[in-house]
């Protein structure tokens, strides 16, 4: 892999940018791998990268049904934060935030991580009590989170309206300054390029049709749309389609897949300096470097794989945005779309082994998986390489639904479930 640097930009400019090396190869699947990752989104590619970089597994492949980063990685609102309530969640999400800090340097790919602060608005007494509880819990875990008065919130985010006559007036806010955003596509591409440089085969347009086990019940082969592959370790990272893929190994999952919508406005000059979220009126918003306002809406109430949601769901969010930020009332929306999010009963992810030997699963990130991409890949790679959970993801096994040790983060998640 040729390193990206100021010198490579200048050098390639001299040849009119015709000689850039391909970011990753386009190989055909080999008949045998040491490990296969099913799903070429951010989490899957990160898993492959850390398997190769930290655990020395080089004869591995990422199998992607469509194109890499074409699912939820390319459809989310790119918010990064770790202000979760419970110790288990904080450890998991803050592990990711720490990896985000120098990810661009590690991957030699600019993922445009911008720690511009995530501010969550409180509109009533319940919000105030809940957020302060989160703040104190976070501080006990060494995670930054602070309380802002309405005036301080307005100073941090000038477009915010403090109109006391608003239906849901703002009474304060919780701010995590290390939170922020990153460029979603670049995360997938950066991990893909770095993994490819370490010998990982990234195979696109290759759907896994069946995951077969031998007589002892251990994985021995995956059958794909591009031929069979002998492999003893399979990691499924298929987001909204996890139930479908795991069904091909004969397993049921505690998951339901819902459409979650996002939309962007027409591009405008820099006006919005941070990320603002409101659970109560259900809106979250930030501004991309291209100038579009990136707005997240809610999930539909029914299981669907359609990658589109109801217009009334997006409308609800835009009404909330217009009340919080009357300055945006006349902005036009440019595009909206849906992604399929796999939601667990306790709104925490599942990362670990499964009842099938050699089959591992990383799923259930629901409405907030992007922020965890590096940490998720890091601990999942450890799980696959050692056939044992990393201490950080040990509480997040599939087994917890049988033992009852749930991690009920529903109140801490950004989206009202």
């Amino acid at each position: 892999m040729k390193k990206y640097s100021i010198f490579s930009v200048i050098g390639n400019a001299l040849s009119y940018h015709r000689n850039w090396q391909r970011a990753w190869r386009n190989p055909d699947p080999k008949p045998r791998y040491d490990a296969v990752i099913v799903g070429g989104g951010g989490h899957g590619l990160a898993t492959a990268y850390y398997l190769a970089a930290e655990h020395g597994l080089r004869n591995i492949a990422v199998l992607e049904k469509g194109w890499i980063g074409g699912g939820n990685t390319g459809r989310n609102t790119t918010i990064i934060r770790s202000n979760y309530l419970y110790d288990e969640s904080v450890h998991l999400y803050d592990h990711a935030v720490k990896l985000w800090a120098d990810l661009s340097q590690v991957l030699n790919y600019n993922v445009m991580y911008s720690a511009r602060g995530v501010m969550m608005l409180a509109h009533n007494t319940h919000d105030v009590q809940s957020f302060k509880r989160h703040i104190y819990a976070n501080r006990l875990n060494g995670v930054d989170n602070e309380w802002l008065t309405p005036g301080e919130a307005k100073d941090f985010c000038p477009p915010l309206s403090l109109d006391p006559k608003a239906r849901y007036a703002i009474v304060g806010a919780a701010l995590q300054r290390r939170g922020g955003v990153a460029r979603h596509d670049a995360v997938a591409w950066g991990y893909a390029r770095a993994a490819d440089a370490l010998g990982v085969d990234i195979i696109q347009n290759c759907e896994v049709l069946e995951i077969r086990s031998d007589n002892s019940g251990a994985v021995e082969r995956v059958v794909t749309s591009r031929g069979a592959i002998e492999v003893r370790k399979v990691g499924v990272v298929a987001a909204g389609h996890t139930s479908v893929v795991m069904g091909r190994a004969g397993l049921r999952m505690p998951l339901e897949s819902f459409p979650l919508q996002a939309l962007v406005s027409e591009p405008v000059k820099p006006i919005f300096p941070c990320v603002v979220m409101s659970n109560t009126v259900h809106a979250y918003i930030s501004q991309s470097d291209r100038g579009e306002l990136v707005i997240g809406a809610g999930t539909d109430q029914y299981v669907s794989y359609s990658q589109t949601g109801g217009l009334h769901v997006a409308t609800h969010t835009l009404e909330a945005i217009c009340e919080l930020f009357p300055v945006f009332t006349r902005l036009r929306m440019l595009r909206n779309w849906g992604g399929i999010v796999d939601v667990t009963p306790d709104r925490s992810p599942i990362i670990g082994r499964t009842p099938v030997q050699g089959l591992y699963v990383n799923c259930g990130w629901g409405t907030g998986g992007f922020k965890a991409t590096p940490g998720s890949g890091h601990v999942f790679a450890h799980t696959i390489a050692h056939d044992k959970e990393h201490p950080i993801n040990a509480p997040f096994t599939l087994e917890r639904f049988r033992t009852g040790r749930l991690i009920d983060e529903a109140a801490a998640a950004a989206v009202a479930h």
Binding site: P254, S304, S306, G310, F401
Partner: protein, 90 residues
């Protein structure tokens, strides 16, 4: 937005309804004799089908009655609705 045919009131807009999740999940008759795995399966594990999916709906802002629907989760097209207690149509 879906157009949902309530078996009691006829076709109405989705905002009149509340989704109730997968249909035809029977609570184990004797919980004390049910294993943890079976109980977890009842509480948490779902078919999450890609394709025809039987699900419960409540006509919350109408007749307030529960009923079932079969909907294709890829096209979101509802093929049939039927009253609770009736078997899933073939």
């Amino acid at each position: 937005m879906l157009l949902i045919r309530c078996p009691y009131c006829g076709p109405r807009a989705e905002i009149e309804f509340r989704g109730g999740g997968e249909a035809h999940i029977a609570r184990p008759i004797d919980p004390a004799a049910t294993s943890d795995a079976q109980w977890a399966d009842f509480l948490f594990f779902r078919s999450n089908s890609r394709g025809p999916h039987a699900e419960r709906w409540l006509h919350a802002y109408g007749c307030q009655r529960w009923f079932n629907a079969v909907r294709d989760t890829v096209s979101d097209r509802i093929t049939t609705t039927y009253k609770s207690g009736e078997p899933r149509p073939r």
